[in-house]
Symmetry: C2
Subunit: 683 residues, 2 copies
Amino acid sequence: MTKSYWLWYPGDMELYFAMKQNFSRVERGFSWPAFWKSEGFRNRVVFRRTYLLEEETEFRVTCRGQGHVVVGEDKYPFGKVITAPRGEVGISIHCARIEAFPAVYIEGETICSDRGWMASDYAAPARPAGFSEYFTDPWQDPSVWEYSEKVYSPVSAEKVFVEKDDRGNVVETRAPGPGAVSGYLYTFETELTAMLEVLNTDGTPIDILDVKTMQVCCGESREEALDMLHCYYSWQVDTETGRCPRCAFRYVFIPGRAREVYAIHQYVDIPVRAFFKSGDGLLNRIWEVAAHTFSLCSGIFFIDGAKRDKWIWGGDAYQSICINPYLFADPSIDRRTLTALRGNDPMTTHINTITDYTMLWIFAVWQHCITYHDLEYLASMYAKMQSLMDFLKDQTDEKGFFTGRSGDWIYVDWADLDKEGPVGAEQMLYAGCWKIMGKAASLLGREGDAALYEERFSILKKDIEEMYWDGEKGAYVDSFTSGRRHVSRQTNIFALRCGIAGEDRRKQVLENVILNPQIPAVTTPYFAFYELDELGQEGMTEALYDRMVSYWGGMLARGAVTFWEEFDPMVPVSRQYDMYGDRFGKSLCHAWAASPLYLIGRYLVGLTHVLNEKGETGFVLSPSLEHLGTLDCGFQVCGGEKTVRIRHRNGILRISTDAENGLLILGGKEIPLLPNREFQAEI
Amino acid sequence: MTKSYWLWYPGDMELYFAMKQNFSRVERGFSWPAFWKSEGFRNRVVFRRTYLLEEETEFRVTCRGQGHVVVGEDKYPFGKVITAPRGEVGISIHCARIEAFPAVYIEGETICSDRGWMASDYAAPARPAGFSEYFTDPWQDPSVWEYSEKVYSPVSAEKVFVEKDDRGNVVETRAPGPGAVSGYLYTFETELTAMLEVLNTDGTPIDILDVKTMQVCCGESREEALDMLHCYYSWQVDTETGRCPRCAFRYVFIPGRAREVYAIHQYVDIPVRAFFKSGDGLLNRIWEVAAHTFSLCSGIFFIDGAKRDKWIWGGDAYQSICINPYLFADPSIDRRTLTALRGNDPMTTHINTITDYTMLWIFAVWQHCITYHDLEYLASMYAKMQSLMDFLKDQTDEKGFFTGRSGDWIYVDWADLDKEGPVGAEQMLYAGCWKIMGKAASLLGREGDAALYEERFSILKKDIEEMYWDGEKGAYVDSFTSGRRHVSRQTNIFALRCGIAGEDRRKQVLENVILNPQIPAVTTPYFAFYELDELGQEGMTEALYDRMVSYWGGMLARGAVTFWEEFDPMVPVSRQYDMYGDRFGKSLCHAWAASPLYLIGRYLVGLTHVLNEKGETGFVLSPSLEHLGTLDCGFQVCGGEKTVRIRHRNGILRISTDAENGLLILGGKEIPLLPNREFQAEI
């Protein structure tokens, strides 16, 4: 029996679940679907394939939707065994479905739904059908994602009293006044994305009258759970199941008497395939908390945060795609996320309405494709990369600078930038996109395209150097239009990242901006990633290490068990969960705060994924043992297919791998790493 | 309390039900969804409106979907009473839904979902929200159409025997052989679109074991119902409801013992507002059968046929839109149909994959808008008319002739045409579209557009005259490419219809083609409509009358109770239901066969809907009393808002109307008809 997948029109599965994901945000009793154009799936699809059959063969088609099968000239219903005659046989499967995307599954010795089927929507040219390793069984419905589940009990249950304070917040009190409410606070070991199940302490279901008055208050923080009025998620249990809807929390407060509480954690089982243990306890803790943070924000897609927004954001996803090879090395979540973000052609809106997120999608596709050498995905997305670039090009001014359209969101970072006229940071990214397009075209053998795109990069780079470089300040300014000559870290970091600055200006930027304490510090982990990545690129491992342990260590010092959307060490503890003018507005488990996984793997362990001149996947290892001390860690390499393990103890460095094309750089020397032969050296 | 509608993104309701409609075809046990690109609805919409409130006011939003309401800066869940403060208040309603289109309903004294709300999909500019007079109650779900129902009992039940004949067909037998099957045939008065309910003769439900073996065979014809193997619809009743799925039939055959059978006819209640009774019994019968045919093919949309395809076809719909004012005068089914057919922008495929059906959509929009003076609809569709014309223009050759793209279906008619190179009939329609575009632009006050479109028409007309006119034959040829100089009725009829032929050539065409028995006759009612319409335009009422009573009368003579998809008087009775190589392939209730309603109303009663120079709706009446004899008939006029009644008996003609702008033409004289003042004349 050959291997069958469920098949659909390419992208439909991703677009369908992306809607479910982006519509899943709930806050204080109302639903908050994402505020951008929703990209729909198709409702009418045909799958086609021609077989050359050596003998008569049987097959059966199952469909989620309605339609029929055509074999040669004859029509057959779904669900019945069909006999195809020997010789050349054209088969088409007609499929329609309104409420979800149409999908088919074909079982047969020879004719089955393996790769090789083409899908058409009757408008665009036929394309290879979409499939996923998660949908391979005939009884599945690919519009229903089957989560893995794990049941957790709280690590503690304590009786607490809460009452309203002067500002109307509900807070814990040790001396309960007349208006105080008592209840039980349940604490889980760490944050989960779970359905809560609540029972009486004797294990019996909650009585229906009890259900109506029982409020289950959840919180990422203890403070949030206890504030019955302002916590994001406050549920009544479902009378049939005894469960609350799935949401992210660590703390649960239930006013009234004690209950028995379980959390049924639901997740997509993406195995953690890296491990990291060094002699530096703080670094180890940062790695572990980042790993848990990243896992909670990685499901069907890379989302921004476990509690909120639970949306798929382009810039956040780019960083997750950079982090992924250093934890999961799972290319399929990259593809699902990228496909969902890009949506359908023609492109009519910016990804998440944000101009820079549209651009970072190009960076993300490229990052994915070179990490896993995923040329199939690159080829399948190339036309959409081109139409995205056309979309951007239509939004440039007469000088060729990208301006966006009125109403577009130029985000860059939660920071004070001068956004008058064409925004500097956007030009850096826009140029970077053309540079990537040149490389992508070249990798696909489209040399004509490559030359055009490289030329666009060169021209834009020259114009940026001319208009945005401020010789006196020795830095790039945010805007040349306003005349304010405002210098920000963000604009200059993107200039470095996108290959704008030459050697000399690169040095000036480092000195005058990156290492200059006069320039306002970055306060989001989002931009901390970009900043530290540049320190790493410059080989400034010392500075990178210091900033990482102080910034992420700072969150740990505040009791973080997952890393936060934003952290400013200057903000007092009493307001540390504030964001967007909301006392519990901050997401305490945010993917873009998990970048230490990348930074540690990439710059301290020193592992880089590369393609050699033959186009083969390989890796370079250049460990910074001075920051790690003793070490035992392992990572996936070569497109996630192979492993490398690095151990350092008692002055002996040992490296073993099953991969070809490994290269160790140690003390300035290049040492090839041979597969299945342990390398040893005294340090 | 002001009047509330359910609101949605404009077009979503139509596109959603169009999918349901186009996916509803079932044949002999399998589903057959329409084979063209399906145009989807939106999944994420926002409705916005700003009120200037004189005082605080309450309202409540109900949503089919998920989301929330924003009043000023504050968010509220659906279903709760919200208080809006006095002053200027911006309200936005955020709504998401995957399985159907999002819709909202707003109840309140001042703030309610009447007209005035704008809808946005976050990509295109905001547009006035969609609504329908069918969805005005808060408990409705606009994704569920509530059909009207009427229960019918069969007019006869007879015991019959059937057996297989030599060719494998199952036919009635008077002398049952050993393999014969007996059962009961139930005949209804006429064709219905109904769910059958089957009970035992004592009124009890069918036993579950009985259900499993009981086959309910339906047929438009007696022959079809009796052929258990080849009838289109053969059901098992649902064990819970005792009912079969909704389908079209007149006859029901149930092998085995006698049963009690009811038909629950489901329909959209579009009132028949015209009546017609003349001294000509055959004409009256044609009118009545056409009216029943048309009603069965008019539901949420104009569909082609009641039994099959049940799809929405552009060319068919155009004729239905021409017929509509002479029976229902219901502009809203026009709009639903036109909106559904056109789909979304950008346009990527031809309507129903047929190039001429794309063009006829322009004719149909125009026909609708001038009949009902529906400038609001014209304005709302104008951009889509333009993008459709751009789509066509992209498919022209270097001479400017329309060619379509490879794979596009150039239909014209079920007839033998020379389709080599640019097809003549297509050029006529294409030119006709530019002519209409000129008039539409002018009506909307877009004079620049109008001039451009008129110029396009002129140039194309000139080129057509040059390339397609054959001076020797005195007719237009199908193709100039092939050199075969083939002359068809179809090409020449479209040349007349689209204003290509000048006075002289028009006469030649009439003589050499239309009235020339050497040119193969039209065999579809589809093209008979176009042909007879030209006879009518030429004032050849006699010829029109003769052809109509012979063609449609011919179907009546064969026992038709509804008019057929195709009728060729030369085909023997034994093969009269054949089509597409299928013994019961022909649809016996087809909208395009209902055109006698139009032809009688337009040319025998002589009623034309017009706009006067002030842009007001009016009508002209020019009755052909010689064909009608005594007469009592009534029609809607002036956009369906007013009525005209015409009576003729004992030599006295009496005409009464409540409309302004009526004009009678009698014996060559123009006589204004005054509202609410009966006109009388001796004839």
